[in-house]
């Protein structure tokens, strides 16, 4: 039942709009006025509150469920950070407010820039990208701008490992590059021989996630860095997995020239059902002139410190602006508050305990008979298991197991990513989950393994206890229904 289906002609939430309707006939030319009646719901305030409260109850969320979604870092989102960012002064501040009404906000943002420089080992930061993918775009566009500024016009290729996030090749293409994919070896590290083959004078750069999406630390990173730099290319660090090494390894020290962070992962800002995220970019010396605008600067005038905006006037070689104002400001404030709550030691603990939880969960699953994709390696903050055996013997897929986990009250891990491991789960427990929760998850996995062997149908037809059963996604494409219409079957 949609909100449209409970609509009743003439009903209104009367407290929520001006009491009278002003006449604008003299102010808006007749030809420009709306004549078409729009069908928006006509409902009371209570009906709205009930409808959306009930909808919310159909969701899994971090606040209600364990959410071991690999490469997504679904850790606890501290309420304190949310409250800090929701102070009236922050919420009411207009993005184009004069500087005098902006010093509180700008001081937080400036300090966040400094924190990020510290944890990444980079020289400059722009907080404006609104998500990881936009951070990637900014980073790759900067790589392009760097080469062009040196009169180096032949570099038209970006190297990406086959296990990379889909955004990496998509971003390279958006920036006008060709993508060269390289394979990953059976131990999870990049195939250096294959890399050697594709590194040429046309190499603009390489995009890497480290620890990689295979859930292991790329041990040859120093060699890769030397190889790419020697060829005149630059290294891009996809910060999706920064949680694994936060405070312990700085991407700048690994030789990366540019990177993005996912504040909605590493800095615990809420995912909001698919966004907003935030994807700041950090750069080394060489790319400083190309950072996207605006950036917050700090100046000392006599005794007084003031903060101000750096724009394209100050950074003339900047790749430019990426949003109407400056990114997802409220998310930045949450990340700032989170950083203060953690402090420098807390940042180290993030890496330590997310790694501890992952390795513990890996060992427990291995002992329980699950197939570990890279059994000789340490897990980073996440790891891969494969159901290829179960798929072959019992015709049960990783997706079936994922759906069955929902019945047990656990959100499924990431399935079928990366593609190079067949029938896989990418599992990331994060540091904020307790041993008890992880143990309970292991119990559920063991139960499901038993079910696969004794009663595979219950797994194949899962879930059984959710608001809906498995959905027909073929029908969803073929009989495309993307909006409610009056009279349409519901």
């Amino acid at each position: 039942m949609t909100i449209f289906d409970i609509s009743t002609t003439g009903r209104r939430a009367t407290a929520q709009a001006p009491l009278n309707i002003a006449n604008v006939d003299d102010l808006i030319p007749k030809a420009l006025q709306r004549s078409q009646e729009t069908i928006l719901p006509e409902v009371s305030e209570l009906e709205v509150v009930r409808h959306y409260t009930r909808l919310s109850q159909k969701n899994f969320s971090i606040d209600t469920h364990f959410y071991p979604l690999g490469s997504c870092t679904m850790k606890y989102n501290p309420r304190g950070a949310h409250h800090a960012a929701s102070m009236p002064g922050f919420k009411q501040r207009h993005p184009l407010a004069p500087l005098v009404y902006s010093q509180g906000y700008l001081s937080c943002i400036y300090e966040l820039q400094e924190f990020i420089k510290d944890v990444t080992g980079m020289k400059g930061v722009s907080l404006t990208p609104m998500a990881g993918a936009q951070g990637e775009f900014a980073g790759v566009a900067m790589i392009k701008a760097y080469h062009l500024s040196r009169g180096d016009f032949v570099r038209d290729e970006i190297i990406v490992p086959s296990a990379a996030h889909g955004t990496n090749p998509a971003t390279a293409v958006m920036c006008g590059f060709k993508v060269k994919e390289i394979p990953v070896k059976s131990d999870g590290d990049v195939d250096l021989e294959a890399l050697k083959q594709v590194v040429t004078e046309r190499t603009a750069g390489i995009m890497l996630t480290n620890p990689s999406t295979c859930g292991v630390f790329e041990r040859d990173i120093e060699t890769i860095s030397k190889m790419i730099h020697k060829a005149g290319g630059l290294l891009y660090y996809d910060g999706a997995n920064l949680n694994a090494i936060l405070g312990r390894v700085k991407p700048g020290d690994m030789g990366f020239d540019v990177m993005h962070l996912n504040l909605h992962k590493t800095f615990a800002t809420p995912h909001g059902g698919g966004g907003p995220g935030s994807g700041p970019v950090a750069v080394g010396e060489r790319l400083l002139p190309f950072l996207p605008t605006p950036i917050v600067g700090k100046q000392h005038q006599s005794e007084k410190v003031t903060y101000y905006w750096l724009t394209e006037k100050d950074i003339p070689q900047s790749i430019g602006r990426l949003s109407a104002f400056m990114g997802n400001a409220g998310i930045l404030l949450r990340a700032y508050a989170y950083s203060l709550l953690l402090g420098r030691d807390g940042m180290h603990e993030v890496a330590e305990f997310s790694t501890l939880n992952a390795n513990y969960l890996l060992k427990r699953l291995e002992q329980a008979g699950f197939k570990i994709a890279y059994p000789t390696r340490r897990a980073s903050h996440e790891f891969l298991i494969s159901f290829s055996r179960e798929a072959k013997e019992y015709k049960v897929s990783a997706m079936d197991v994922a759906k069955r986990l929902l019945d047990y009250g656990f959100h499924a891990p990431t399935t079928y990513f990366p593609l190079l491991v067949p029938e896989c789960f990418l599992i990331e427990p994060t540091e904020t989950e307790s041993k008890e929760i992880i143990d309970a998850f292991v119990e559920a996995m063991i139960n499901i393994l038993d079910e696969i062997k004794s009663n595979a149908d219950i797994v194949k037809k899962a879930p059984h206890s959710l608001p809906v059963k498995r959905l027909d996604d073929v029908k969803a494409v073929k009989e495309l229904d993307v909006r409610w219409e009056s009279g349409k079957n519901s």
């Binding site: 079928y416 067949p422 996604d473 073929v474 969803a476 494409v477 073929k478």
Partner: protein
């Protein structure tokens, strides 16, 4: 593996090629390929009049959770496309070698056909690994 009719030729990218009596060639995707993709929900067709080089992208076949490019197995001019696939893309699943044909080419160089695999080679190639 699926059906691999002996009279057709096969590209490594899983297109089949049938040489018609009038010298034109018809192209589709193999039973193996349709099976790997799953329920096909959309086909992006080339345009009649396009000139394609061997190996050039000619269109896209989409299932719910995958999308696969279709490549021209040999060079030629597109002289017909299977418009019925717009409404019934599942014809590729149901009938990959006849009703599910995708486009027809007028070859620029028929010798290019010699570079494409015969059915037994394609069968072996499919069996040899996870293609």
């Amino acid at each position: 593996m699926g059906m691999i009719p002996a009279e057709l030729k096969y590209a490594k990218t899983h297109e089949w090629v049938r040489t018609e009596d009038d010298g034109t060639v018809t192209v589709g995707i193999t039973d193996h390929a349709q099976h790997a993709l799953g329920d096909i929900v959309y086909v992006d067709l080339p345009e009649v009049g396009d000139t394609l080089k061997a190996g050039q992208e000619a269109g896209v076949v989409e299932s719910v959770k995958a999308a696969s490019d279709i490549y021209a197995p040999i060079s030629g001019e597109v002289i017909a496309v299977n418009d019925e696939l717009a409404d019934n893309p599942e014809m590729i699943n149901n009938d990959p070698y006849t009703g599910g044909w995708i486009f027809k080419l007028k070859p620029l160089d028929v010798n290019e056909l010699d570079d494409i695999q015969d059915s037994d080679v394609y069968k072996e190639w499919c069996e040899s690994g996870d293609h």
